[in-house]
């Protein structure tokens, strides 16, 4: 059982990593990015292309792909999300939904339906493990992913609280008009935030490709896991995202123990329980959700 718990915690590191960008965009930019998973897959394909065509290791490839992802994030905010946000809260959600479809289909057109993986390009790292006392085997890649998630979340927390740019981003998130009145260029702050979010998405995509297989339509399940981890951890809380990722992974591991098909069901149940607890805590229980609006007297 302790082996399952450790594997679950390490898998939680990956979920925290993929949820990190989603949570960051939601907390800072108030945008639910439904193209999150597709953008991660785009990063994985970019690394696969560099590795298969130009023989660049995926780790070295990150030096090319992460700046590209940052540029994509900056451009997305400036030319798409910023404009769609003027149309109300719903329009950015629909915009990112459309963006996901566009990315998925462009990848399908370019690369076809074959599944791919970055594992062949990272040598034995994809399957190497350490043996711990008690016959527990811990995958080296899983540990690297977990450490990356912790460092990334801690780094983002430090960036937001200890740097001038981080304070500017928080101020813009809280009140863009007042942020402008204290000298913050709100448009720039949001574009930088989007660039940072896309860097985390790029990293998550890289690890997705290293630890598993992916195809052009692999974005949707990644979005689902990211969304579940972010909600369980309290959307908007960076450290909560790590906790959310671990809880989701442990629930999936437990589900798999109960039934071979129970891996995803276990995660969904944990997500729903966390969702209802949060809704109840905020005064919106199941009854509140299902309550129909009162009819107006005619």
């Amino acid at each position: 059982m302790s082996n399952q718990i450790i594997q679950g915690i390490l898998l939680g590191g990956y979920y925290a990593l993929i949820a990190c960008g989603l949570s960051f965009m939601f907390s800072v930019m108030r945008i639910i990015n439904l193209a999150h998973g597709s953008l991660a897959v785009l990063s994985a394909f970019a690394l696969w292309l560099l590795a298969s065509r130009f023989h660049i290791s995926p780790f070295l490839g990150l030096l090319i792909v992460l700046p590209l992802m940052a540029a994509i994030g900056w451009a997305l905010q400036r030319f798409l999300l910023e404009r769609s946000a003027r149309g109300g809260a719903l329009l950015p959600i629909l915009t990112t939904f459309g963006l996901a479809i566009v990315i998925d289909n462009l990848l399908f057109e370019q690369f076809g339906a074959d599944t791919r993986s970055l594992a062949p390009f990272i040598g034995s790292l994809s399957y190497d493990s350490w043996e711990w006392p008690g016959g527990i085997y811990v995958g080296k890649l899983a540990v690297i992913i977990f450490i990356t998630a912790v460092v990334l979340l801690g780094g983002l927390q430090l960036f937001l609280t200890r740097t001038g740019l981080g304070r500017s981003i928080r101020a813009t998130s809280a009140d863009p008009d007042t942020a402008g009145l204290v000298g913050v260029d709100a448009r720039r702050a949001m574009a930088v935030a989007a660039a940072i979010a896309m860097v985390t998405v790029g990293l998550a995509g890289a690890f997705l490709g290293m630890r598993a297989t992916f195809d052009p339509y692999a974005g949707a399940p990644q979005l689902l896991f990211a969304f579940e981890a972010a909600v369980i951890g309290g959307a908007g809380s960076l450290w909560g995202t790590l906790v959310g990722g671990i809880v989701l992974a442990l629930a999936q591991t437990l589900g798999a123990q109960v039934h071979p098909q129970g891996f995803q069901i276990g995660g969904h149940i944990a997500f729903l329980i966390a969702l209802f607890i949060r809704l109840s805590a905020s005064g919106l229980g199941l009854r509140g959700l299902l309550r129909l609006p009162a009819r107006k007297a005619s």
Partner: protein, 242 residues
């Protein structure tokens, strides 16, 4: 050359003209009091000068430069800082973080966090407290300090005494007196007529978006301002071009 020249400025809230062709100058080192009833257009005028509200027509010249189209963050960089009505602090951030935000524009100057805390001693023990947990007076001091941290050439103060007890207002004004004595150029929106006349060099009374009276604070009588306040008297006294 005046530090600030407002020329025939028109500002709209939708179809409503909140500021209707207002013109005046502010010289370097002066304190100008803007008074008038609620809805007279004082706050809208200040926000338009700070770039927080778009102007429909007219010009705002700052140190000779036309500010038309410049967003608020650029105006902060040029030396205009607004202390908005209601303070508008970032309540999840500490006093120090709010003050440091004021440095974002990166203007050179003497204002530091320590100097703000010396100017407003009541903030010293609250340096690391979230501003949402502060008293009204402490919040107002933080808002003024945040504006000062941008080392402004022109400080716009909107209703700094609103919602504060008389004792706290006295403390805030005692601190402001130090700023005025040091030669900071200030435009002050104030409901308390006596205070406005006491601290300012010039006064403008607005009525329904227009200047109803403008003059030197020392030469204008309280009665004249009161009449202008209620639309009973229109006059332009010497000193302010209106």
């Amino acid at each position: 050359m005046s530090l600030l020249s407002v020329e025939d400025l028109v500002v709209r809230h939708g179809l409503l003209q909140a500021v209707r062709g207002v013109s005046f100058n502010v010289e370097r080192g002066e304190t100008l009091a803007l008074v008038g009833a609620n809805g007279a257009g004082k706050t809208t005028l200040l926000r338009a000068i700070a770039g927080a509200h778009p102007q429909a027509s007219g010009r705002v010249l700052f140190d000779g430069a036309d500010l038309s189209g410049a967003p608020s963050h650029k105006r902060v960089g040029m030396g205009i800082a607004l202390v908005p009505e209601g303070r508008k602090l970032f309540v999840e951030m500490t006093v120090e973080e709010n003050l440091l935000l004021g440095r974002t524009a990166g203007r050179p100057g003497d204002w530091t966090v320590d100097r703000v805390l010396e100017t407003f001693p009541n903030l010293k023990p609250r340096r690391h407290a979230r501003t949402g947990h502060l008293s009204g007076g402490e919040q107002q001091a933080t808002a003024i300090g945040r504006a000062l941290m941008s080392n402004p050439d022109l400080l716009l103060l909107d209703e700094v005494s609103l919602g504060l007890s008389p004792l706290v207002v006295d403390r805030v004004y005692a601190s402001l007196q130090g700023l005025i004595s040091s030669g900071t150029t200030i435009i002050l929106v104030e409901q308390d007529l006596n205070r406005a006349l006491a601290v300012s060099d010039k006064v403008i009374c607005m009525l329904e978006g227009r200047i109803a009276l403008a003059g030197d604070s020392k030469s204008v009588t309280r009665e004249e301002v009161t009449k202008a306040y209620f639309g009973l008297h229109r006059k332009s006294a010497g000193g302010v071009s209106a």
